[in-house]
Every structure is written in structure tokens, then in C-alpha cells.
């Protein structure tokens, strides 16, 4: 009733799916609104021609990772048996589900309930499928309590990414109207208006009150409990037992608890409080369950959890999270200690790091009953989880406590191991001083002993940090020591990493050709062995390292590959990182529209506004604005300068120089020196010629230094020495038109005119205006007035965006693919396509491609 409209829209989605157009439907509503009833009614309305696969998320604070996927695997009709049983990565599991949804003859309806309780792994799954569900005959319906998903809720960012997609639809289940309440209460002695006012139209509350039949209660709990209180003690015990089982209680377990009293189970069923759902007992609604659980006397609650745990043990359950849940709720320290750590490790391996942290914390609550060594080891595990979920201060605290223990216990080896972070744990490198203290101590210990894998690892980690700080000599020295120690200890698993770091050091600190070659080799090696994480790491180093030294031909392919790979496996951070570098490179190459596009993609995608991807991408946008003379540039750059303080120099120097450039262009060159000067000192501390070059250049432009520092990158050094022509040529070779023009502007009139032409073609108004004034003051006549529309427009009057779309059409992409590529809606693409047809005077795609090639607008 009243839900026909909603059922109809679900039906429409399924009809679309039958035509091969899949979708994700998000069913939102408050708790008790009737989302589950709606979905159930829909499922019941279907005939056998649709396959239904169902799963749900658990209302545990520490849910079973990937719970819905376990549900899918348990359903013999789903075609997904064995989905979760082998040791596979989460992404492989997601891929298998996606294949199932695509390779199907019958349309498939996937139902996942209560995604507001989804663990991290399940959230990744929703995002993965949600982004790809359009091609296929499947509809995925997910229900959630929208009133529980606040701004900090983990589901929020997933919704933010999925809702804008054309294949995602949102359905809201509203409260009941007066008419509906009246109809429901028609055979009962309730005043519909009073009922509506008390319940606010909450469907569950309304039906609960009507079923309880008595006077109006004050709350949902009261309504539920008044019904339950009418059961006799034995039936009540069953109901209580079901209330501590997060979702449902196996009938067999209920029978055990009932001590063979099947009548009692029947009593609870006939009173309408419990439902039999297949071979399980459950409450009609989660609200009833939590009402009953909340009313349990403590002793009874603890006893029931103990009983449940015992039952699970007896049948050899493999649901570690559920066992740990019950164990923790018995309040018995030994049980928590026994079950929680295993559940934590399992959660971690499934990508559910928040949950893993909570499980470790639950065990460590009883650290007084755990041997100190085990406690220390667990603290390190907890620290790793906390680091991953960005709770850095707490993570460092756990490390400190573990270190403290090992030091006072005199366990040198464990102490050393704890002080050597994994290179993947960036949070441990952020405080360079802290890192250096720790690694020194570790090296001190390990060097005293026989060469070992640990010693080699310590050298590698130390070298890694030197590389991050762009200190070439120390990095190379440590890497050589790492090789030697590994060889002596007979360890081979560090070889790849050592080579990769040698390549990176070479790339950014001097020998670019060697460095590129090494990184390409290790990346291929990792790919061949199927080590995707290593391959990704090598690509990121190659891409950003080459970008940093302006070797664009090496950088762009690596970064594009990184984006492609990241999109395929939903590694959002990798995608953002590579795109941010593509933004910076596009900026440096004068392709400012491309830079803006990449930067906007990064900005939109990253909910996490503190990372390197944001710093690099938004800085590129800021610098484009400054060079174009558009508003908002300096504001962005100031914001990014703040952010750069918690990152290494190479991530922030570009930003600081952009800010100095702004001040120079607006006639206030010294205003940039407050940030520039300290950065310059840091640059002199490193071996990076590009840092010394660019920062040095702006120091020079701001009047703070007279000559280039030693080891500054060639084009900058040449210009600072007065060789504007040499600098311009070098910049032209590298492929940076703006810098070329800046150098030419230092030359005589002829060079200045050439410079002006470049600035005009880039749309660099501030420099264009400045040069025009200089030329006027020099008495030069016939200076071009400014970029006219004719010089800026492309042949046939196609805009830049239209050119982009046309290129993709020539590449053979259809409108959906183009939309995805450019991250706009399909409607926008269709709009562009029709404008393109009209400008080219054609009426079909093939003709458009031919016209494009003929006119030379696009070159194959």
C-alpha cells in the first residue's frame, strides 16, 4: 500500500536490465520505514525468470568482513559457490561476482540489506560493482538507513561516488501518510491521528503498536517489550537467545537452547514476535531485536553470549568475527583474548582495517592477562591497522609502547624489528627526525650482530627515507650496504626493492636515462611475476620521478598506465596520484585545459584532502590560474602551501614557486620570499638539480640571490647567467613553452615579440600585458593587439572540448565510453557530438571521422 510507485520504479529498473542496461538502486529510509518489506514485496512479485541473490550486512560493531559475499556463496542457486572459501584477494572476488552478473541469460536481482553496517571490504565491493553494473542484465538493490549516515559515516563517501553515476538510482521510502495509517488501523481501536503523531509515520512502530493491541506506548521499545512480556518464561528464553544473534539464529541452535522444547519456539512464532526464515529464526525487524537485547538483564545476556559461543565452537564455525563478537560480549577476558586477535587478522586480510583495529583493541583491553611479549607484538599489529585508517597519533603511541617493552626486556632483535617500518607504511616516515632516531638505534643493534635479512631490510628502509628526502649520496651508500648484507645473509626477497630504489635515486638525482631504464625493467619484472603492487609502485616512481625531472616522454606513459591499472582494480588513490602528476605535467607543457581537467578529477575524487595527490593536482590548477590571470589562483596556492608543510620538499616546491611567481607577476616579488627562502635552504641540502634550479630561479627573480646555485638544472642556470637564448633553446627541447617564452622575454625586441606570440597562444594574459607594455615603452610599433578569437579557434570553429570528443570518436569510442573517459554525463557528450556534426557539416559518425581526418583536425 502506498508503495506502488516505488515498486513500479523497481520494476522499471528490472525491465531495463532485461534489455541489457543494468543499474544500482539505493533504497533509503529511516529504521522501520519499511525498506525491507518493500524489497521483499518486490522479490515476491517476480516470476522465475529473474534470478534473485540475497545478502546482508551485520549489525555488529565488528562485522564479518565481506558478509554479503559470504551470503552469496552460501546460496546454491547463485552460481557463486566457493566465492569466499579460497585464499583470494578481495578484488578477485569482486571480479567473479561481476562476471556472474554480466554472463547471464536470465536477468539477476542482487539484494544487499543494511549497507550502513557494511565493513570496509563490502564498501569497496559496492563501489566496484556500482561503477560497472551498467553493462549487464543485473540490478543491485541496496537498502540503508539514511538517517544513520552522517557526514563522517564511511558509507557517505561511497554514496558520493556512486550517486552521480547515470546507472545509480535512489529510492526513498517515506513515512506513512495519515491515509495509510488510517487504513492500517481501520479494524482496531486506535485513533489514526494520535497514532500518526506518536509514530511520525514510522511503519514498523505503527504495525507494532497495532499488533500489541494495548494502549499507546511511549516508545518503540515499550511497544515491542509489551508484546514480548506476554510470553511464558521458556518462550521468552528463546526470544532472548535470538536477540543476541546479530541477524538470525539457526533453528538447530534454537532447539539446543530450548532444550528440546519445540512448543516454546512455536509460541514465539505464533505470537508474531519471531519469524521462521528458512531454517533460521529471526525477529520481524532489527528494531525489535535491539529492543529485546537492550532489555536483557546483564547476567542473562552474558550467559546467552557464552552459550552462543559454545554452540559455534561445537559446530566448528569459521565465522571468526561472529565468534569474537560473542566472546567479547561475555565480558570474560580469556575469551576475548582467545578469539579477538584471529578475527582481527582475518579482517585485515580482507581489507577491513577499521574492524581489525577494533578487534585488536578489544583483546588489548585485557592486556594485563596477556604475556607481555604477546602484548607488544599485538600492539605493533594494531599500530599497522591504525596507520592504515589514518589514526596516526594512536598508531605511533602503540609503537612506542611496544618499543618500551622490548627495550626494558632487553629483547634487542624484536626492538630492532619494531623500529624498522615497512616502506608501505608512509605514516611512519612523516616525522623524519623520529624515523632517523629509530632507524639509527635499529642499525646500531643489527650491525653488532651477524649480517641478517633484518640488517639488509634496515638498510633498505633507511635508503628509502634518504630517497624521499632527495639525498642521493646517503641513499646510494645505504643501498650498497643493503646489497652486501643481503648477499651475506643469503636473502633474496629484497633484491627487487633494492634495484627499484637504485633506479629511483638515479632518476631523480642525476642519471635519468639509467634510472628510467632500471625502473622500466623492474616494473616489467614485477608484472611478469604477477606482483601487481610492486608493479604499481615502480610505475608510480617512474611516472612521478620522470615528471619531477621534466622527462615527459618517460613520465606520461607510466602515469597513464597507472591510471588505467588503478581504474581496473578500483585503487582510487593510485588513480588520483597519477592524474595529479598528469595535471602538473600538462601545466608545464602548456596544455592548460588538460591540466585543469585532470586537476578537477583529482579534486572531485579525493575525499581525503591532505594527501600528495591533492597537493600536486590542486597546485597545478592554482598555477594555471596564476599564469592565465584568472581569479582564485593565489588562494589555492596558499592553501596548498599549508598542506605542503607535512610533506617532503619535492611535493611542495612547485607550489611555493607558483606562489612566488604570482607575487612577481603582480609586482610584489618580495612577498614570496618568506616561503621561498627556507625552501631554497632545503633544496641546497638535497642533490636535486631541479629543486635548486626552479627555487633558485624564483629567488633570483625576487631579487634575493644574484647567481645560480651550484648544480642548478641547466635551463634555469643559463637564464640566471644571462644566456636567455641558450635557456630558450633548452626549454624548447624539453617542451615547456611558457618557460621558453620567459627566457625569450629577457632578450632583445625580436625575441620579445616571439615571446609575446607564445604567451598569446597560451592565453597567458599577465605576461602578455606586461610584455606589451615593455614593448610600447621601448617605442616598438605594430605590436599585435592581443589574442583574437581567430587565432585561438581551431579550424572549423571547434572548441577545445569538441576537439577532445572528436579525437575520441576517431579512436572508436562510443558515447558512453567517451563520457566515462572525460568524466562527464552522456548527455553532455551527445550535446558535443551534435555540435561537432553541425560544424563539420556531416550527419553520421563515420562521416565525422572522415571529415576530421581530411581537414587535418585530428591526426592518426
Amino acid at each position: 500500500m502506498e508503495r506502488e510507485g516505488l515498486l513500479e520504479s523497481l520494476g522499471e529498473r528490472l525491465r531495463d536490465a532485461k534489455e541489457g542496461k543494468g543499474s544500482l538502486v539505493l533504497v533509503a529510509g529511516e529504521a522501520g520505514a519499511g525498506k525491507t518489506s518493500l524489497v521483499r514485496a518486490f522479490v515476491e512479485s517476480l516470476d522465475g525468470s529473474t534470478l534473485v541473490i540475497q545478502g546482508a550486512c551485520d549489525p555488529l560493531s565488528t562485522p564479518r568482513p565481506l558478509s554479503p559475499l559470504h551470503d552469496f556463496a552460501a546460496d546454491p542457486n547463485s552460481g557463486l559457490i566457493g566465492l569466499t572459501s579460497e585464499e583470494r584477494s578481495a578484488i578477485e572476488m569482486f571480479g567473479e561476482v561481476l562476471d556472474r552478473l554480466r554472463n547471464t541469460i536470465r536477468p539477476i536481482l542482487v539484494v544487499i540489506e543494511d549497507i550502513h553496517w557494511a565493513d570496509e571490504g563490502t564498501l569497496d565491493f559496492l563501489r566496484f560493482i556500482g561503477r560497472r553494473i551498467e553493462d549487464g542484465k543485473a540490478v543491485m538493490v541496496c537498502t540503508y538507513r539514511d538517517d544513520e549516515v552522517g557526514p563522517d559515516h564511511p558509507l557517505r563517501s561511497v554514496l558520493g561516488q556512486l550517486v552521480p553515476l547515470g546507472s545509480t538510482h535512489r529510492v526513498v521510502v517515506p513515512p506513512l501518510s495519515l491515509a495509510a495509517v488510517t487504513k492500517l488501523a481501520s479494524d482496531h481501536a486506535f485513533d489514526p491521528r494520535e497514532l500518526l503523531q506518536l509514530t511520525d509515520g514510522n511503519a514498523f512502530f505503527v504495525t507494532e503498536i497495532i499488533a500489541s493491541g494495548e494502549g499507546l506506548p511511549h516508545s518503540v521499545q515499550e511497544a515491542v517489550l509489551s508484546r514480548v512480556s506476554r510470553l511464558d518464561e521458556k518462550a521468552r528464553r528463546i526470544v532472548d537467545a535470538v536477540s543476541v544473534a546479530p541477524r538470525a539464529l539457526e533453528m538447530a541452535h534454537a532447539v539446543t537452547i530450548a532444550d528440546g522444547g519445540l512448543d516454546d519456539i512455536d509460541a514465539a512464532l505464533s505470537a508474531g514476535i519471531l519469524l521462521a526464515d528458512g531454517h533460521r529464526l529471526r525477529f520481524r525487524h532489527e528494531l525489535s531485536r535491539s529492543a529485546v537485547e537492550g532489555a536483557l538483564p546483564p547476567a542473562r545476556r552474558l550467559g546467552l553470549h557464552r552459550t552462543m559461543l559454545h554452540i559455534l565452537e561445537e559446530e566448528g564455525s569459521v565465522d571468526l568475527a561472529l565468534q569474537a563478537h560473542h566472546a567479547i560480549h561475555t565480558d570474560e577476558a580469556d575469551l576475548s583474548i582467545q578469539y579477538a586477535p584471529a578475527a582481527a587478522r582475518n579482517a585485515s586480510s580482507r581489507g577491513a582495517h577499521k574492524e581489525a583495529a577494533r578487534f585488536f583493541e578489544a583483546a588489548l583491553d585485557h592486556s594485563d592477562r596477556i604475556p607481555d611479549d604477546d602484548t607488544a607484538a599485538m600492539r605493533v599489529e594494531l599500530a599497522n591497522e591504525l596507520g592504515i585508517v589514518d589514526r596516526r597519533p594512536e598508531a605511533l603511541d602503540q609503537i612506542d609502547r611496544a618499543v618500551e617493552h622490548y627495550r626494558s626486556a632487553g629483547d634487542e632483535l624484536s626492538l630492532a624489528r619494531t623500529l624498522i617500518p615497512d616502506t608501505g607504511a608512509r605514516w611512519r616516515f612523516e616525522d623524519a627526525a623520529r624515523f632517523r632516531r629509530g632507524i639509527s638505534e635499529a642499525l646500531g643493534i643489527l650491525e653488532r650482530n651477524e649480517p641478517s635479512g633484518d640488517l639488509a631490510r634496515a638498510y633498505v628502509t633507511s635508503a628509502y627515507q634518504h630517497m624521499l628526502a632527495r639525498k642521493g649520496m646517503p641513499a646510494s651508500v645505504e643501498l650498497a650496504k643493503a646489497r652486501a648484507a643481503a648477499a651475506e645473509a643469503g636473502t633474496t626477497d629484497l633484491t627487487w626493492m633494492i634495484t627499484m630504489l637504485e633506479g629511483t635515486v638515479a632518476l631523480v638525482l642525476g642519471d635519468t636515462d639509467t634510472g628510467s631504464r632500471i625502473l622500466q625493467d623492474v616494473s616489467r619484472e614485477a608484472a611478469a611475476k604477477g606482483h601487481r603492487d610492486d608493479e604499481t609502485l615502480a610505475l608510480m616512481m617512474l611516472g612521478s620521478g620522470s615528471g619531477e625531472v621534466r622527462r615527459y616522454d618517460g613520465a606520461i606513459p607510466a602515469l597513464e598506465k597507472g591510471v588505467e591499472h588503478g581504474l581496473a582494480v578500483d585503487q582510487d588513490y593510485l588513480v588520483a596520484y597519477c592524474r595529479s602528476w598528469l595535471a602538473r605535467i600538462a601545466f608545464e607543457q602548456g596544455r592548460w585545459d588538460d591540466a585543469v581537467n585532470y586537476a578537477e578529477l583529482v579534486d572531485r575524487a579525493t575525499a581525503y584532502r591532505k594527501g600528495i595527490a591533492i597537493l600536486t593536482g590542486v597546485s597545478a590548477l592554482g598555477r594555471v590560474r596564476v599564469r592565465r590571470g584568472d581569479p582564485g589562483g593565489i588562494g589555492l596556492l596558499e592553501e596548498m602551501v599549508e598542506l605542503s608543510r607535512s610533506h617532503e620538499l619535492q611535493h611542495g616546491w612547485n607550489t611555493i614557486c607558483g606562489r612566488a611567481e604570482y607575487h612577481w607577476l603582480t609586482g610584489n616579488p618580495q612577498a614570496g620570499l618568506d616561503e621561498l627562502a627556507p625552501a631554497y635552504q632545503r633544496a641546497l641540502d638535497t642533490n636535486s638539480e631541479w629543486a635548486r634550479g626552479e627555487i633558485g630561479f624564483w629567488m633570483w627573480r625576487s631579487g634575493a640571490i644574484e647567481t645560480a646555485p651550484d648544480g642548478a638544472a641547466e635551463p634555469f642556470a643559463l637564464q640566471m647567467a644571462g644566456d636567455w637564448e641558450g635557456a630558450a633553446n633548452r626549454w624548447s627541447e624539453i617542451g615547456c613553452p611558457y618557460e621558453t617564452a620567459l627566457a625569450l622575454a629577457d632578450g632583445p625586441v625580436k625575441a620579445k615579440l616571439e615571446s609575446l606570440a607564445i604567451f598569446d597562444s597560451l592565453g597567458a594574459s599577465p605576461m602578455g600585458d606586461r610584455l606589451r607594455k615593455v614593448l610600447r615603452d621601448l617605442g616598438v610599433g605594430g605590436v599585435p593587439r592581443g589574442p583574437t578569437k581567430e587565432t585561438l579557434a581551431n579550424p572549423r570553429g571547434l572548441t577545445n572540448r569538441q576537439l577532445e570528443v572528436l579525437r575520441l570518436i576517431v579512436d572508436g569510442l562510443d558515447n558512453t565510453e567517451i563520457a566515462r573517459e572525460l568524466y562527464v554525463s552522456k548527455k553532455t557528450v551527445e550535446h558535443h557530438v551534435s555540435a561537432i556534426y553541425s560544424k563539420l557539416g556531416v550527419d553520421s559518425r563515420t562521416k565525422a571521422v572522415n571529415a576530421a581526418l581530411a581537414v587535418g583536425v585530428v591526426v592518426r
Binding site: D593, D630, P631, G632, Q802
Partner: protein, 117 residues
């Protein structure tokens, strides 16, 4: 003849420089037409104008009002939009030049009346 499509006249009360962070920034876009801009008062002309409005929507850009010089070689156009880049893209869709973009807020000649002797 230019016709302003929308002409809001409200002032930001209190501080002329303040903008709420949730509101879209407002820009003035200067455009130069060396050959002089002509928009005929015909159905084609109307279609072109409405086409501009529609193009702008795809970038969430709103054309507020424009001012044109006597010789039709320069216009000053007031726009609301999310960023200067959106303004540029919207201009690209309609094949309009962009010579300068400035972010603005409204300052009224009578704002300071009564603010103090």
C-alpha cells in the same frame, strides 16, 4: 540590442566583500569582438541567445547580465559559476571569446550612507 536575461539587484548585506562559502562566486568576463558583435533580432538571434544559456547549464554557469560598448567591440558579462575554468568551458561551448575574468562582489553607491559621520 542586448537583453539582460536575469537582473538581480540584491546586495550582500553588511560587508561588501563577504561571500558565503556555499554560494557560487560571481565573475565579470570581458570579451573582445574586433569585428564587432552583432546579434540579429530574429528567431535565429533568439535561438543563439538561448543556446548560450543552455550550454552554460552543462557547466552550472548562469549568465546574469551583460553590458556592451557602443561600437559593439567589447562586452562585460556578469556570470555566476563554480570556477573560472567552468566559465571558460561554457564560453568554449558557445564559441565566445574570454579576454579577462575577474571575481567580483557588489558595491552599491549608497552602501555607506548612515555608516557613521
Amino acid at each position: 540590442m542586448w537583453v539582460g536575461i536575469i537582473s538581480p539587484t540584491f546586495c550582500v548585506a553588511g560587508d561588501p566583500g563577504r561571500k558565503g562559502r556555499d554560494e557560487m562566486p560571481r565573475y565579470i568576463v570581458e570579451r573582445e569582438f574586433p569585428k564587432g558583435l552583432e546579434i540579429p533580432t530574429t528567431p535565429e538571434g533568439q535561438k543563439a541567445m538561448l543556446g548560450v544559456v543552455e550550454n552554460n547549464l552543462t557547466e552550472q554557469v548562469t549568465w546574469v547580465q551583460s553590458f556592451v560598448t557602443d561600437d559593439h567591440t567589447k562586452t562585460f558579462c556578469v556570470y555566476d559559476g563554480p570556477s573560472p575554468e567552468a566559465i571558460r568551458r561554457a564560453a568554449g561551448l558557445s564559441d565566445l571569446p574570454v579576454n579577462r575574468i575577474s571575481e567580483i562582489s557588489i558595491l552599491d553607491p549608497y552602501f555607506y550612507v548612515g555608516a557613521g559621520a
